[in-house]
Every structure is written in structure tokens, then in C-alpha cells.
Symmetry: C2
Subunit: 334 residues, 2 copies
DNA sequence: TTGTATGCGTTATCAA
DNA sequence: TTGATAACGCATACAA
């Protein structure tokens, strides 16, 4: 048995397709009795409208897309989970595309954009210029984890203030003087802002400017390798402020290998507060980000844009704050 | 400027849309000169065919879907990454849907299925009966991490043999006698098979049957809680075989808290070989699964089904094997 | 209150 | 070698 179309329903109910369409969309006047007949026919045939037909007829595709660099760490998976929770609830489809640092991904993204009503574009995927071009091409875009571009609204998390607070904590409360920042500010706006907060804390404390960041690529192995280098070197740092949790856990491994105790010999902090670090040994001091909500809000903002509503906050910054556990030197349970 | 359609191209090239279509699809005879004119028009107008039109005209939607329970751990994200690598390379779209243990997800999945050419359905999402119904409804389905149902091909990883080997290693090489399995066999076919291998190892070694599994729910916290219970109890186990890595790391935390040393006082093993465990302290002995390839192969199988090709292996089982590090008691580096 | 006819952008059939 | 035209499934202006 073929899948029934709107004509089949109309025939069965003894009406025209227009009437069926009206019943389906709840628009326009339909006599009670007629409506019931149509509804009955729909039920009997197990009819479900083809969203292809709908989309082609100009009703939008009821689909959102997200463009991310890759699915290596937990971060983007959580962003996607947040978006998915919203799209699923609203009966929309969610399409995903990883750029994987490919060169010619402009076309890919453009092609991708054609299949959705709007796009969430994360940091470290496509350059601002390309975002601007998308905007000009009437593609609805929402930026995630990066500042607004050319009128495209952004949704992101706080970075500067928590980094400042965290670093100040290490300096003022635990007396650290030789701190290093592990992460590459050039890699993403988020990391850049964290670095800024790190620097500011030094200024605020009247310390000399910190040494340049230890450029590392956000994965655990990068943290491990960076720490191995640092811990083997002459002037060993007293505290490592890592740009994310995975690198911090990499530092844990290098420290264990070198016989360096955390936090007695080395304070370590992360960023993200991924589930694993709460049960790390010792529990990691980090900065909690509402990543899933970030995805949800991005999707929500995108939907508003698509509906033509005014976006209330074109640059929404969600609060994130330090979680002091034990790797910074704080006492267990206190 | 509106987005050009096939008529615009035809008009510009001074031909009919049929000819344009032929050039586009490389089918049917087209004079060299004509083709060039059409190609020029396409280029000048920046024309790109609408996939909506294509799909409606019956060419398929060039989209694959995956249904998963949630994005909590690294596992499903990696599966998705594997699928995405294939779909992106082939210019297909990838749609995702999480069931989140929702009740009435039958309709959601059905609706979802209408938007794609085929579906990868993972374990712990929808019941076999529902999969069978999808199959009957002419939805192309490939199962992932669960056995074939009603003719739907499956792609999964080895479980029994590695579990047998791993457990035997603990028993024979490290002399363990009081082993417990942490995980719920009822939760997924994968876990059930791992439990079977665990049991078989006891039989093979001539030991009495192991105690019942410590039912825990795959997340780190569940492992932590389970281990806390076990380590506080009277008859403390000597080895914990965990159904996945996250739970094993939870065990790490509980052990540290209880002053139990790994592996001296307690051997621990995981499953999956997620990146983090390689740099755990101590490095975790686990079973490596080619999860990303699993996703890729599932997508590949699905594409074959869609193209109507014979699926070479209706029940593809990818090999997975133990990685002996230090948490089982093996020496560093050997 | 209901129906007719047309457009959306493509592919495919058949005729020229 | 090319073209006119009919699907595909739906929404909607317009007519009745």
C-alpha cells in the first residue's frame, strides 16, 4: 500500500484537497461536519502530510542545523544535546555538520544551509567573513561561543570574569606567584577571553605580567605533553590554569608520572566542569559552564529569528563561575 | 536577487529545462556545444539545484538519520562522528534524534524516518517490535550495537570474546578469585554479552559461578556509588570488571576516597578505551572498541541498503580487544 | 463554506 | 539530439 497523499484523503472524505489542507492547518473556515469527515479519512488512511511537499510549497523546512569543528571532546556533544532537546520538543529536525578543519568547507556550509531554516555556527568553524557572506545570502545564522558578526546574534558564556576570579583565588588565597596559562588564545574567542582574565588578575594583584601562554590544543594529550615539558624544565610553575578540563586531566597524568603531587606541589585548574572531573583524583577545580543550556538558547534564538521575531538579546552571555574543589589547594569539603 | 531555478538557467542558455537537467545529471545525450552553453549559464547565475525539488521528484532525500538514547557519554558522540564523516564526504545530510527514554517516541521516530532515506537505530532506543514495524513500513533501517531484527542488518562490536579474555587474564595471570561485574546486562545487548564472557571465564577456570552483576547505569556516578557500596562491604572484591570506562573512573574515585590502592588492593577494568583513560592514574586496562568506525560502517551499510545493493554482511561484527595497562595489575610498559 | 487552478523545482516519459 | 509536459505533495489566491 502506497503512502496516501492529500488527494487520497480528499477523495475518501468526499471533499477537495483545499478543505483537507484547511483542516490540517486549522486555518480557514470548515464546517464542523466536514471537518469530522476529513479527520476520519485521515485516521482511516493513516495519512501524514509530506513535509517535502510542505517545504516546497514554501512553508519552511522545519529544520535547524549546527556547524561544529569536530566531536572530539564532550563540549560540542553537549551543545548539540542542548539544541536537540529543543528541536525534538518542537518537532523540528536537527542537521549536523562537522568542518574538521577542512579547507574548502565554504561550499559545504552553503549547501548545508540550503537544507535548513537556520544555522547555529560555533567558534573554530568558519571565519567571520564567511559568516558575513551567509548573512548577506539571507541565511539565518546564530553564533555560538563567538561574538556577533554583521548583525548575526550570538550566544556565549562568560569567560573574562570567571578567569579573573579563578586566577585571583590562586594568587591571593593560595599564594601562587609562578602561574602559567595552558591553552592557545588564538584558537577561539573563549580561550582568548580566559587568557585576558588570567592576565588581568596579575595586574590586579600588582604582579608582573605572566609569561606567555603555553599553546596547547584543547585535547588531553596536548595538556599532558605541555605539562611534561613544563614539569621537566628548570623553573617549574606552581600553578597551571588550563583552558579546559581535558587538558587539566592531561596535566594530572604528567604530574603523576613526574612524581609531582597535586595540589601540594602543583595547583591545577580546568574549564567546563565536565562530569568526569568531579570524580577525578583530586577533584578538579574548574569553571562551570552551562553548555547544554548554551545549545538550547542558541536554538531558541535561531527559532525566533526564523519566525521573524525580534531577538531580545543579540549578544546573550550566560553566566559561568568557578567551582573550587581540591586541585587548587582548597581543602576537601571546604 | 532571487535564487535562480532551472528555468532561469534554461532561458539563459537558450535551451529547455530538460536539457539543463540532462547536463546536471550527466544522463542522456547532449551536444558538446549545448552542454558548454548550459554550463556557462549555470556558472554565471551561480545556480545550484534545489534538493527539495529533487527529493520531491523522487530522487531520495540524500539524508541519513540516527536515533540514539542520549548524548551523555562519549560513546554516542563518537558513533555520530563516524557517521558524519561518511555522510559529509558523500554530500548527504545527517539528522539526529535522541529518544531520552521518552515514552511515546514511536511517533517521533516514525516522523523522523519520513525525513530521511534511512535510519541507524542504536541499542537502548526503541524496542525490537517497533524496529520490525519500521521495517514493514518500508523504512530502511540499520541496527547498531544490537542484533539483527526482522531482516534489518546489524553492525556491532565484539563483546563475548574480549570479556572472556579480559576476565581470564585477571583470573589466570593476576590470580584474582573474587571478581565482580559492574553493569546491567538488561540495559543493552552489548553489556549482556560482556557479562556472558565474564561468566564463561569463571567456568573455563573451573571457578564457581560469579556473583550476580552489580547493576549500575553506565555513568561515572553509578560506578562511583556502586564501588563505594562494594568497598565498604564485608567481603571486598579483588577485581571489578566494569561495563564501560566511565564507571571504571567512578570506581577510581571511590577507591581513592576509601584509601584503596589500584591495582594493589583492587584491580579495575573498563570498556571502550575512551581517550581519557589512557592518561588516567593509573592508566586503565580496558577493551578497545572501534566506535567511530562502527558509526561509519553503519552509515555505509545503510547507504548500500538505500541503493538497493545486497548488504554483504547482514550482521557485521567488528573486532575489539583488551588493552592491558596498569589498572589490572600489569607492570608499566609491559 | 467549499472548490478550482496554479506555483514550488526537479526528474522522467514520450514525442519530435 | 532536443523539447513539451506530466508527475511529485502541498499551500493558497481566487472563484463560486
Amino acid at each position: 500500500m502506497e503512502r496516501p497523499n492529500i488527494y487520497a484523503v480528499a477523495a475518501r472524505a468526499g471533499v477537495s484537497i483545499t478543505t483537507v489542507s484547511r483542516v490540517l492547518n486549522g486555518k480557514g473556515p470548515v464546517a464542523r461536519r466536514t471537518r469530522e469527515q476529513v479527520l476520519a479519512a485521515i485516521r482511516e488512511l493513516g495519512y501524514q502530510p509530506s513535509w517535502l511537499g510542505r517545504a516546497l510549497a514554501g512553508r519552511g523546512q522545519a529544520a535547524l542545523g549546527i556547524v561544529f569543528p569536530d566531536l572530539a571532546g564532550p563540549y560540542h556533544a553537549e551543545v548539540i544535546a542542548g539544541m536537540e532537546s529543543l528541536t525534538a520538543a518542537q518537532g523540528q529536525a536537527l542537521l549536523i555538520l562537522g568542518t574538521h578543519g577542512r579547507d574548502r568547507c565554504d561550499e559545504m556550509v552553503l549547501d548545508f544551509a540550503r537544507r535548513v531554516d537556520g544555522l547555529v555556527v560555533t567558534a573554530r568553524t568558519i571565519p567571520d567573513a564567511e559568516v558575513a557572506r551567509l548573512q548577506d545570502g539571507e541565511v539565518r545564522v546564530v553564533l555560538l561561543g563567538r561574538p556577533p558578526v554583521n548583525g548575526a546574534p550570538a550566544v556565549r558564556t562568560e569567560n573574562f570574569a570567571p578567569a579573573l576570579k579563578l586566577t585571583t583565588h590562586l594568587i591571593a588565597d593560595h599564594g601562587h606567584r609562578r602561574l602559567r596559562f595552558v591553552g592557545d588564545p588564538a584558537l577561539s574567542p573563549d580561550v582568548a577571553e580566559r587568557w585576558e582574565g588570567f592576565v588581568q588578575a596579575h595586574r590586579d594583584a600588582g604582579l608582573s605580567a605572566p609569561r606567555s601562554p603555553v599553546r596547547a590544543n584543547l585535547r588531553q594529550e596536548d595538556g599532558y605533553l605541555a605539562a611534561r615539558r613544563l614539569l621537566g624544565g628548570a623553573s617549574r610553575p606552581g600553578a597551571l590554569v588550563c583552558a579546559n578540563d581535558e587538558m587539566a586531566l592531561g596535566v594530572y597524568a604528567a604530574a603523576a608520572e613526574a612524581g609531582v603531587r597535586i595540589p601540594q606541589d602543583l595547583a591545577v585548574t580546568g574549564w567546563d566542569d565536565i562530569p568526569l572531573v568531579r570524580y577525578a583524583v583530586p577533584p578538579l577545580t574548574t569553571v562551570h559552564q552551562p553548555v547544554e543550556e548554551l545549545g538550547r538558547r542558541a536554538a531558541d534564538t535561531l527559532v525566533r529569528r526564523i519566525l521573524g521575531e525580534e531577538v531580545p538579546e543579540p549578544d546573550l552571555v550566560l553566566p559561568s563561575s568557578p567551582v573550587f574543589r581540591e586541585s587548587c589547594g582548597c581543602r576537601p569539603g571546604g
